[in-house]
């Protein structure tokens, strides 16, 4: 094992994530714009569990069974996937209940007469009624309220355990994930079912979990580097490279079963219902892993760069071998003060001016006693 893969395997990569943050922001911005446009102009394709629709009940006869009813509906142009078929039984008296989304009234009566004709019964024996959604408005309202309360609690927890800037970044990343996932569903016109909502919630949890793991590393490195004069961008870069392998491994571990559900479950075994659930999960897992690395961490770096403790070093990034040195030893490479000259070279006067008082010290300051040990 050598070369890039080998370095990745041993956690020795030196990718400049922070320096390229604009790429990620641009990409996500474009995605979110697309989401907004699509949701406004196209909307979401909500399933019957959300919208309600119509239901027919028809007695089971020699000429009409559950499977034949499915065919009748297909002939009338109702998609089998978005309809629900159930067999009702009370004391041997069997009926088929069919639910479908909103259809125009002429179609509803056409289906009704088609069912009656196939079952060879009177049209009166086939009942037809509008049905409400099983997922009532109150469920949605409660879920949204719960999500808001949850975000508040999470912000408090992260602020207390780490710091408020991390809370802001984590919440922004989470909102980003929901936005992108909703966008994909809207753009592709996929049907949203309760399973989709549950899948999105799963993803939200996963994304947040992933972000916390990354931030924990950043937090650990913040105290590790507290004595040396490195920019927060460096800390973010070092942390990202250190957790890169873990992020990749975890994503692989999470995605493999889902891919298996999608490919084997719905493809080979033909369980169509698994398809949409697995699809929602894959989109979510991808955005979740992406947002922790390309949104949450860079955003945190930008917020921290304004912090007086890190502002002087703002803009300086140790790249390549310098970063490797930083990772291995916890101290900036080269002679002391190199960082400052570089800042000056880059022509960022305010930053250089701000450190000048400290730069004249003849020896590095004692490390602050912070953190463990």
């Amino acid at each position: 094992m050598s070369g890039r893969l080998g370095r990745l395997y041993r956690g020795e990569t030196t990718v400049d994530f922070y320096g390229r943050r604009r790429l990620g922001f641009l990409f996500s911005g474009a995605l979110l714009l697309m989401t907004l446009g699509s949701v406004v102009f196209q909307g979401l394709n909500l399933g019957i569990d959300f919208k309600g629709g119509v239901a027919w009940e028809v007695p089971v006869t020699d000429t009409l069974t559950l499977d034949i009813a499915k065919k009748v509906l297909a002939q009338e142009g109702v998609d089998e996937k978005s309809a629900k078929f159930q067999l009702l039984n009370s004391n041997g008296d069997e009926r088929v209940r069919i639910q479908a989304g909103d259809l125009d009234p002429s179609k509803v009566s056409r289906v009704k007469s088609a069912l009656a004709a196939r079952a060879k019964v009177d049209a009166q024996d086939v009942s037809e009624a509008s049905v409400s959604s099983t997922w009532g408005r109150s469920i949605t309202n409660k879920a949204v309220r719960a999500l808001l309360v949850f975000m508040m609690f999470v912000s408090f927890f992260i602020s207390w355990r780490f710091e408020w800037r991390m809370a802001v970044s984590a919440i922004v990343a989470m909102v980003h994930d929901v936005g992108v996932s909703v966008g994909v569903y809207s753009v592709l016109g996929l049907e949203v079912t309760p399973a989709t909502v549950v899948a999105f919630l799963t993803i939200l949890g996963f994304s947040l979990y992933d972000t916390i793991v990354v931030f924990d590393k950043v937090h650990e490195n913040t105290s590790r580097f507290s004595g040396s004069r490195v920019s927060y961008g460096d800390i973010v870069n070092v942390s990202m490279n250190q957790v890169l392998m873990r992020s990749l491994n975890t994503s692989v571990a999470a995605v493999l079963p889902v891919v298996s559900l999608l490919v084997l479950g719905s493809g080979v075994f033909g369980a169509v219902a698994l398809q949409e659930f697995a699809f929602a999960l894959i989109i979510g897992l991808a955005t979740g892993a992406y947002s922790s690395i390309f949104i949450a961490a860079p955003l945190l770096g930008m917020l921290k760069d304004r912090d007086p403790a890190y502002a002087p070093q703002k803009g300086h990034l140790s790249l390549g071998p310098e970063m490797a040195h930083l990772m291995a030893t916890g101290a900036p490479a080269g002679r002391r003060g190199a960082a400052i000259t570089r800042v000056a070279d880059l022509g960022q006067e305010p930053a250089a001016a701000a450190v000048s008082a400290e730069a004249v010290l003849s020896h590095p300051p004692r490390p602050r006693k912070k953190g463990r040990r």
Binding site: R10, G11, A55, K84, Q86, L88, N89, S90, R95, V131, T134, W135, G136, I139, K142, A143, R145, L147, F150, F157, A195, V198, L201, T202, L204, F206, L208, Y209, I212, V213, D216, F225, S226, G227, N249, T250, A254, L256, P257, V258, V259, S260, L261, V263, L264, G265, F269, G270, A271, A273, L274, F277, L281, L285, H325, A328, T329, G330, P367, R373
Partner: protein, 512 residues
């Protein structure tokens, strides 16, 4: 230290396996949701006039009744003007009717005697003691609800709530006349909670004397329910005549209690503390927030009741069928096998701990899920099953975090034994922080939502907890013990190259 680890590890394994075996022996298996197994479908048709909002409350009450902890995922649809309730996994049609078909009128009846149920030779003999855990005060603030006016309950639920109330009424052992001995209009009713029995007089008023705005509030440091009276003869006057009778404690209402009855169950039986109410009624007692909220909801419902005709019940078939579940399980297992293969390739020998750890979590989850299937009607839907498969990803992550930290420490030149201890310490902090957030989310969602979201929150919380338990009680001792055996003390076992270490060490150690 080693001994403690061995004890922890073996206790965890024995306990998990024991619980799992006990569950299997008791015949607990997870029951399946409507989409996979079907169930019973109850159709309710409202009688007479009704308003839309009241049906909403009725649906809420039904949902509360069939889905108390939020895991059974019933499907409640309004089809035309009827309400259809689909209950997963219920084979017994009578049981489905019992669960759903009871929504009726809220009645207010004077309490003649109150007692405790003591089954005796098959016949229900009832011991009467003066007791209640609630009291009624007039307009909020006008009369203080004091515990001293309450008689202490003679045991049962009430005594737990009222440890301070000390004026014990000697238990009068008379047998409440059952059956033939009853005066016309009298009934013997059970309490909705606990084992109290009430002999109540004829219906004096219905819940319609109240306005539909009952609310749970905090007053004098406790939860109370306030509700205002409808003005006029059908509201305030009717209530006040009942209140007056009961306050005076005459023959028709010797206990001074008014029973609030729903579906022939006594929800609450507060003591009336004033003869005259002025537009507002406050019910106080040692309520918890949830109890006060439930009572308020029932009073609201009683204000605009919906009555249903005799419900019809049918069995419904599954919408998806078990073949989908088989597909999910088989493809899920293949997915998990792929994950394990990947981990073994990457982490070599130590990945075997993950295999065993997943086995332990699997047994724990199976035990809890099948136990709840039996006790709380938990029903596993296809998305629930798929969700559990996905949660494996999160579970595996705690191992990945741990092993990566362990490798970090090894790379810095520490011994394996040392690295394992330090690696776990630091990984545990990460896992704890991340799992706390997940658990917080699960808790908030479970607490504030209903329906499928609640079911999701439940499984999220469950898998998060099991992740924490397994990490600390299984993974930690297992890896720490393995690190001591020397079995792993060869480079390559974890995929670490030792020579990389020296280079980093030669430079002065930073500021750590």
């Amino acid at each position: 230290m080693t001994r403690r680890l061995v004890v922890t590890l073996s206790l965890t394994l024995v306990l998990t396996a024991g619980l799992f075996a006990a569950g299997l022996l008791a015949g607990n298996t997870p029951s399946l949701g409507l989409d996979l197994q079907g169930g019973a479908s109850v159709t309710l048709t409202p009688k007479g006039t009704f308003d839309d909002a009241a049906i909403g409350v009725a649906v809420d009450i039904i949902r509360q009744r069939v889905d108390s902890i939020g895991v059974s995922e019933p499907e409640i649809i309004r089809q035309g003007s009827t309400v259809v309730v689909n209950l997963p996994g219920v084979k017994d049609q009578q049981r489905a009717l019992d669960l759903v078909g009871r929504t009726g009128e809220v009645q207010l009846r004077p309490v003649i005697q109150m007692g405790q149920q003591t089954p005796q030779d098959g016949a229900t003999s009832t011991t009467v003691a003066g007791a209640t855990s609630t009291s009624v005060a007039g307009a909020p603030g006008s009369i203080e609800p004091t515990d001293s006016t309450l008689a202490a309950p003679a045991g049962g639920l009430g005594s737990a709530r009222h440890p301070a109330a000390s004026t014990t009424v000697p238990a009068v052992t008379t047998t409440v006349p059952t059956g033939s001995g009853l005066q016309p209009g009298q009934d013997v009713l059970l309490a909705a909670k606990g084992d109290a029995v009430y002999l109540v007089g004829p219906v004096a008023a219905t819940g319609e004397v109240f306005e539909k705005q009952a609310a749970a509030e905090i007053s004098n440091g406790g939860w109370v329910v306030t509700v205002s009276l409808r003005s006029g003869a059908d509201g305030e006057d009717q209530w006040n005549s009942l209140a007056k009778t009961c306050f005076e404690g005459g023959a028709t209402c010797p206990t001074k209690q008014v029973a609030i009855v729903l579906d022939s169950k006594v929800i609450s039986a507060p003591v009336v503390q004033t003869p005259e109410f002025n537009g507002n009624v406050q019910i106080s007692g040692n309520f918890t927030e949830a109890e006060a909220g439930d009572l308020a909801k029932i009073l609201q419902f009683g204000a605009v009741p919906v009555q249903f005709d005799a419900p019809t019940v049918q069995t419904v078939s599954a919408t998806l069928g078990k073949s989908s579940l088989h597909a999910a399980i088989v493809s899920g297992l293949i997915g998990v096998a792929l994950v394990l293969m990947f981990l073994v390739l990457y982490y070599r020998l130590i990945a075997l701990v993950v295999v065993a750890g997943l086995g332990v979590s699997g047994m724990l989850l199976w035990t809890v899920i099948s136990w709840l299937s039996r006790t709380n009607g938990l029903a596993l839907t296809l998305s629930g099953a798929a969700g559990i498969i996905v949660s494996i990803g999160v579970t595996v992550d705690s191992y990945v975090v741990f092993f990566e930290k362990l490798k970090d420490d090894l790379n810095k030149g520490r011994t394996l034994r040392n690295s394992a201890v330090r690696g776990f310490e630091s990984a545990w902090r990460t896992i704890l922080a991340a799992d706390t957030v997940s658990f917080l989310g699960a808790l908030v969602l479970w607490w504030l939502t209903v329906g499928p979201v609640r079911g999701f929150a439940f499984f999220l919380g469950l898998s998060t907890l099991s992740d924490l338990v397994v990490s600390y009680l299984f993974t930690r001792p297992a890896v720490l013990l393995l690190a001591r055996t020397g079995l792993m003390n060869r480079p390559g076992v974890l995929g670490v190259r030792r020579q990389a270490v020296t280079e980093a060490q030669s430079v002065t150690e930073g500021t750590a």
